[in-house]
Symmetry: C2
Subunit: 189 residues, 2 copies
Amino acid sequence: MENEDFFNSLAGTNKTSYELRAQFYKMVEKEIHPRHTTILSSGQICNHIWFIIKGFAMAYIEKEDRKIPYQFWNENQIMVPVNSFFKQLPADGCVQLLEKSTLLAISFSNIQKLIEAFPEFNQFMCSLLLNLQYSSERRVFHLTSIDPGERYALLLKESPFIIRKAPVELISAYLGVSRKTLNRIRAKK
Amino acid sequence: MENEDFFNSLAGTNKTSYELRAQFYKMVEKEIHPRHTTILSSGQICNHIWFIIKGFAMAYIEKEDRKIPYQFWNENQIMVPVNSFFKQLPADGCVQLLEKSTLLAISFSNIQKLIEAFPEFNQFMCSLLLNLQYSSERRVFHLTSIDPGERYALLLKESPFIIRKAPVELISAYLGVSRKTLNRIRAKK
DNA sequence: CTCATTTTGGGACATTTGGCCCTACAAGAA
DNA sequence: TTCTTGTAGGGCCAAATGTCCCAAAATGAG
């Protein structure tokens, strides 16, 4: 059931064989971690893609004692530090759980095996990458073209779970403003 | 010669067969366009990847009569509007040449043919995508974590060609500040 | 449940940024 | 070349943002 959600999130609308699906299910492992667990530290090479069954997480970079999140993940989302995982390089940032979380994980080597055995699986990875690239590009556009108030409104509309679950300090850093400014935005309406 | 530069930029450090290279060269076409040519209008589906032999270009989105560039390309760089090209969807932004430019182009259908005939070529595309994703993510981090002065210094260090070739109005929009602020930054040092 | 700790929201003030405007300079067209 | 157009830089003022601070509220641990 949960494995199915994981697979479908990766496969999207693409066609897929039954064998691939079955192989995939065998490779998935379930993990439960308490709040504040650091799943990936900066400098480490990420060797898993995760799927959040329950919980909430972020990727952030520490900058002068401040945590700057560049990504949040919610339940039913694929969680992957792109660069570190796909290039197998040390991560720039950390990945941390902000709630007690139940995750599904599949390892890099298993992903490799699936790609070799089922060329279609490579398509899934490419689509995933394309979507992530598009999100980043969109975020760059918003950070350069609209003011903090509108950015907040947009976040509230598109990712209300972030507003609901993350502390003000992190939301404001994610939006590129100070905690004070976010407070002011909230006070206005 | 120029075709070789194009191919090498795509192939990177990956291994490649002679046949692939030869096929690729046959598919490349050279184009020369005057300054200010719009290579891709927003809403169009991009069906080429380009390589800039000579010239300078940007991708931008028009917002309240202001052009917000989200990407600049210089000589010897691969120019591709990722989302529109790879997903074959209408582009969000425009691609415009800021100088008279000489380009090499290869079409989407030809890229498809190369991928089918030479699986290695798919790897090139994935690497390209990975690098672009990483750049975007890095840019997001800079926009949220460092102030305009440092962003300018970084841009000057990492992409001096942008500072040299683009007008102030566009550089400031790219950095997410007003023209006035960029002037002040420049006046300080 | 209670206590310790963290998080939040807001006030005061300094600093930065943006908008508008004008002048000087540079670049492209004829 | 000369003319026209567009771009750069800076002054002035208003608005927005950041920093430092504190008190109230919320949260988690035992």
